[in-house]
Structure formats: structure tokens, C-alpha cells
Amino acid sequence: MTNEISLIKLREGEVAEIISVIGGRMATKRLADLGLILGTKIKVLRKAPLRGPVEIEVRGSRLVLGRGLASKILVHPVK
């Protein structure tokens, strides 16, 4: 059983692999254009306070995702 949790549950510094993206076609496509697809490894860099956005590192770039969107990305933590 894969350990699937929402991206926003990760702590700063944790690394994970994307399992799936729940949500509209638009959001999924937008994320895919930026390289966030099944199997992509990401690292959580920073989480803004007050239920704010999440900053992640993916493919050598730093990306900021709004909280609502980030919560729709399901990931599997890796060591």
C-alpha cells in the first residue's frame, strides 16, 4: 500500500514523489507544463504561514504553489 498524502502535509525539507493530482483539467495541465507529473521528485523548501502557499524545488527550479492547488497534489514521501 503506497503511503499517499497531500503535498501540504509534508514538512520543510522533505522530499517526495508525485503520485497523482486531483483536480480540474486546467490545473493538471498547468502543473504538467511545469514538469509536475507522475513520478516527479519534489522537495518542499518553504511553507508560508497562515495557510499560505508552498515553495517546492522541482527539476532544478523553485516553484510556488497556492495552498489550494498544493493540497490537490498527492505524494509519496521518499528518503
Binding site: 480540474g24 507529473i37 502557499p53 532544478g60 523553485r62 497556492g66
Partner: protein, 573 residues
């Protein structure tokens, strides 16, 4: 007969240095307009190089060539349908893998592409070594290393482009349309082959600074300081420059009368000049420092941090983090505030933000609030009005985001590294925005000034005031003269107070208005219609239909609120 005229486009994702390169290529020979029928900005320019006349089009920074946004559609359509001789794909060498995702989409369009691998100085500093030769082989297109901020690599890119056109080289590694996964995998593979990390990753000053500016706790006070410094600078400089211009032009009216007399034509002529002067007095003092500072913060990379810190707050009013900048700027002048809405990513957000900026009490409105309510009714009432304005902005923001079609988009933004701002780019960007705005606002302001003066000379003002009295007197409880004041207020809002003093012959407003009327008048001035310069900005950003919509709404809204306020206040005093 060799073609001596070429068309090229600059394509790339956001924050790769496109504007720096565009400015290098076109310098002062650029023009910023709109795409026909749309309110998306179109930047074009020309240069002459080795006997060729090259037209350059700077495409918006987009992440894909799909149909996610208008910018993407426009870009795709332009590249595939228009005569484009070659594309310059600008790539940030510090984020190669992400950038290549877009490059691969571009190649599928089957046009000649030259890859400008920019920011080589920064990638070197980060310890990244990129094998440009191998990259060239893998992609099948020329790859030119570039440091745009130092002007290096620019002519080489043009040479490669011209070479591609001359030899009509077929695009060898023709990339058919790949799926997102295929692009991601291919990009990853390519990068593994061409990038070598030569230095162990040390924490750069940029990262250290980020730990402060994005800090959960300290990030906010730092932001408050930086943004307040920005607003204060604009206010201060604006105020000073404004007075300075006023002093210069103070004797001109007398001079005009001496030369041309006071006939009708002389008066109309003067009102045209006066309107132009007024515009320069409004526009330049606030817009110039605003744009300079905005582009400075953006180039430096700070605006992205602001969006990061304020995003969730702005979500409550249907926009994102970046929207706080236009809203704050509105306190100085609505015009640059409205124009700054282009920093929002989607049309929907730009519109909501633009609409909300017109509700922010600008310095002209402050003149009325302080000079009328603050002075004659009490300072706490004056503050109350500001608070009310903020509540209205939140309320209408929520309403707008619920009723406007389209979904509220989530923030997806790349966090750029902090970098040294490029002064030349900032100044050039400022200059062209200013020119562009004056082109629209100028005629509008001058024509309306002349019209109002004409109405005044024809003696129609009292008739108009009477015509409006069912609203102004019966519903709003204000004296008949208000009708005239509100018409002048369209030109510049502080004229409401200025004309009141002029028509009364005294600045002791308490003789004519009671406290309830003062508060109601200030409230109406704040809400009823953006001044003509702001209308010009709205028109420029959103087109005439939306501008009319906002205007109609605000007039109706102001009248409604004013009447209700009048009745409530009458019971309190």
C-alpha cells in the same frame, strides 16, 4: 534576390531575461501596444544588422503553447500563422530542465529556432557547467551562450538566426507533439547529459536573504518596511515634483490672458492647455517613481516574495498575493495603481484588481477627506472613511470574484533568485510605459477639459446642477451646487473642494455644509467615478466596454451608498 527584411520573435518562459534582450536589440526603436482586439500587451521593435532590417516581437512569458491563457493562444497563433523567419528561444541556464519543457513545445511548431542560453554568469556562479555543443547536437538547433545583462551573445544569436534563414536548414530533430510526460523525461535526460555540477552547493547570499524575506515571522515586518518605503518615496517625490511643476506653471494663465485675451476661444484654448498641464502634474510626479520602483522590485525578484507572503490574504478578495501592490499604490494615485494590474497573471485577476484600485482613496480624495471632514467634522470621522473604503474594497472584491465568470486561479509562480537589478532595462521599460499611457490619457483629458469649460462658458452649469438636483438634493441631502462640483470632479477629484471654495468665495465650508453633508460629499467623491486619468488607464488596460461597466457601477453604487449614509448620519448628528 536575398530577402533583406526578417521577422523574429522572442519566446521563453517568465523571468529569463527577455526584456533585457528585447531592449538590447531594439533600444529606443520599440513600441508597446495591444494585440488587436485584445488587451494583452504587444511589444515590438526594429533593428538594423548587417544589412538586414529585423522586426522583433517580444512574446509574453508563457509556460506552454496550449490554450491555458490568452497569452498562450496569441503566441501559438502568431508563430504558426504569421511570417516568422526564426524564433529566438531564451532559456535561463540556471533552470535548464524546466526551460527545456517549453523549448520542446516550441520545436514541435516546426519553425527555425535559435536557443539563447542566458544567464551563463549566474549558472557558472552556481557551479553548473553546461556542454553547449552537446546540447546543440541533442536538440538539433544552434545553442548560443549569453549574458544579456552584459550584452554578450546577442550578435551571435542574430548571426545564427540569419544563417538558419539563409541555408533554409530543415529542422533536423523534428519533435512531433510530445506528451507532457515525454517532454519531462526527454528534458531530464538531456540535462543529465549536458549539465555537470562542478562546485559543491554553497549557500549564496541570495538564499540567505531569502531566509529573511520569506521568514514566517520576520518576513512580514521586512515586507511592511520595504513596501512602505516604496509608497512613501512615491508620495514624497510625487508631492515635491507636483509642487515644483505647479510653481513653474503658475504664471502661465496670466501670460495666456495677456496674449490672447479672454474671449471664448481664448478660454477654451487655455482650458486645453490647463488640462494638459494638469495631466502632467498628475501623471509624471507619481507614475515615474512608481514605475521605476516597481520594475526595480520586480527585476530584483522581490515581488515574487510579496506574492508568496500575501497570497492567502488576497484570496479572500478573489485575487492573489501580488494584488497588494496595486492596491497600496492606489493610495498615492489610482492611475499607476490601475496600470500595475498587469503584474497579475490572468485577465480575470487583472480586472478584479484594476476595479478594486479605483475604489482606493487616492491623494486627491485624501485632500477632500482631510480638508473637509478632517478639518470641520473631526479626525476620527476622517479615519472612519478610510476604514469604510477598505471594507468596501474587501466586500466588493469578494462579490466580484463570486459573480465574474471564470474560476479563481491558484497561484503558480516560479520563485526567481534575487539578482542585481539592471538599471538600463528599468529606465527603458518605464519610459515606454509612460509614453504609452500619455498617448491615451492626453487626448482624453484635454478634450474633457475643453468640454467642461465650454459648458461653463455657455452658462449651462446651473441648468445641469438643477437637472441633477433630484439626486443631489433630494436623495443625497446636498446643496444644488454639488451637481457642478461632481462634474468638475471627473477631471480631478480635488477640484470638488477647489471649485467649492472658488464658487463660494471662501474656504470656510462650514458656512455652506453641515457635518452630515460633508461626510456624504466626501463619501461620494471617494466612490463615484474614477477621475478621467484613471478612466484612461482603465481603458488602456481593459477596453472601453469594461471601463463603461465599472463607471456605471460606481456611479450607481456611490449614489446608493450616499443616500443611505445621508439618512443614517442625519439621525446621528
Amino acid at each position: 534576390m536575398p530577402e533583406k527584411k526578417l521577422n523574429t520573435v522572442l519566446a521563453g518562459i517568465a523571468n529569463v531575461g527577455k526584456s533585457v534582450i528585447f531592449n538590447h536589440l531594439t533600444g529606443l526603436h520599440q513600441h508597446i501596444g495591444n494585440w488587436p482586439g485584445k488587451t494583452i500587451e504587444k511589444a515590438e521593435g526594429t533593428l538594423h544588422y548587417k544589412g538586414y532590417t529585423i522586426d522583433v516581437l517580444d512574446l509574453p512569458g508563457i509556460y506552454s503553447l496550449g490554450t491555458y491563457s490568452i497569452e498562450e493562444e496569441i503566441s501559438r497563433e502568431y508563430i504558426t500563422k504569421e511570417k516568422v523567419d526564426f524564433i529566438i528561444n531564451i532559456v535561463d541556464s540556471t533552470r535548464l530542465e524546466t526551460n527545456l519543457l517549453f523549448t520542446l513545445q516550441l520545436l514541435a511548431l516546426q519553425k527555425p529556432v535559435v536557443l539563447a542560453l542566458n544567464m551563463m554568469d549566474l549558472s557558472r556562479k552556481k557551479g553548473l557547467s553546461i556542454d553547449c555543443q552537446r546540447l546543440q547536437e541533442l536538440l538539433g538547433i544552434p545553442v548560443v551562450p549569453m549574458i544579456a545583462t552584459e550584452g554578450k551573445g546577442i550578435t551571435e544569436v542574430l548571426d545564427e538566426g540569419i544563417e538558419l534563414v539563409k541555408t533554409q536548414k530543415p529542422v533536423l530533430k523534428v519533435q512531433k507533439e510530445l506528451t507532457a510526460k515525454e517532454r519531462a523525461d526527454l528534458s531530464h535526460q538531456i540535462c543529465r547529459e549536458v549539465i555537470k555540477v562542478t562546485k559543491p552547493k554553497k549557500i549564496s547570499w541570495s538564499e540567505k536573504f531569502d531566509n529573511l524575506t520569506c521568514h514566517k515571522i520576520w518576513g512580514y515586518p521586512v515586507m511592511a518596511v520595504i513596501l512602505s518605503a516604496m509608497v512613501l518615496t512615491i508620495f514624497r517625490f510625487g508631492g515635491w515634483f507636483s509642487s515644483f511643476l505647479e510653481d513653474i506653471t503658475s504664471g502661465w494663465q496670466e501670460g495666456w490672458k495677456t496674449i490672447f485675451g479672454i474671449s471664448i476661444w481664448a478660454s477654451l484654448g487655455w482650458s486645453a492647455i490647463e488640462s494638459a498641464i494638469a495631466l502632467i502634474q498628475i501623471a509624471l510626479p507619481y507614475i515615474i517613481p512608481f514605475y521605476l520602483l516597481l520594475f526595480l522590485l520586480e527585476d530584483w525578484g522581490y515581488l515574487a516574495r510579496v506574492a508568496f507572503l500575501l497570497d492567502n490574504l488576497m484570496h479572500r478578495i478573489g485575487v492573489h498575493g501580488k494584488a497588494c501592490i496595486p492596491l497600496m499604490l492606489g493610495f498615492g494615485c489610482n492611475v499607476p495603481a490601475c496600470l500595475s494590474c498587469r503584474i497579475m497573471e490572468t485577465q480575470r485577476e487583472r480586472f478584479i484588481t484594476g476595479f478594486l484600485t479605483t475604489l482606493v482613496p487616492c491623494s486627491a480624495v485624501t485632500v477632500i477627506i482631510m480638508g473637509l471632514v478632517g478639518k470641520f467634522v473631526g479626525i476620527s470621522w476622517a479615519f472612519g472613511l478610510y476604514l469604510f473604503a477598505i471594507l468596501i474594497i474587501f466586500g466588493l472584491g469578494k462579490l466580484a470574484s463570486k459573480t465574474l465568470p471564470g474560476e479563481a486561479t491558484e497561484l503558480i509562480m516560479e520563485m526567481p533568485d534575487y539578482k542585481q537589478p539592471n538599471l538600463k532595462t528599468i529606465v527603458l521599460q518605464t519610459w515606454f510605459r509612460l509614453k504609452d499611457f500619455l498617448y491615451i490619457a492626453g487626448p482624453l483629458v484635454i478634450i474633457s477639459g475643453v468640454i467642461i469649460e465650454g459648458i461653463h462658458l455657455a452658462g449651462w452649469l446651473p441648468a445641469i446642477a438643477n437637472f441633477l438636483s433630484p439626486i443631489t438634493v433630494k436623495w443625497l441631502g446636498l446643496p444644488t451646487i454639488t451637481g457642478i462640483l461632481l462634474i468638475f470632479g471627473i477631471l480631478r477629484k480635488e477640484l470638488i473642494l477647489v471649485m467649492l471654495a472658488t464658487l463660494l468665495g471662501t474656504a470656510n465650508f462650514a458656512q455652506v455644509l453641515n457635518p452630515v453633508q460633508m461626510i456624504t460629499l466626501a463619501l461620494i467623491s471617494m466612490l463615484y467615478i474614477p477621475c478621467i486619468a484613471t478612466l484612461a488607464a482603465l481603458w488602456r488596460e481593459f477596453g472601453w466596454k469594461k471601463t463603461l461597466g465599472i463607471t456605471g457601477f460606481e456611479i450607481g453604487f456611490a449614489i446608493l451608498i450616499g443616500g443611505i449614509a445621508f439618512r443614517i448620519l442625519a439621525r446621528l448628528f
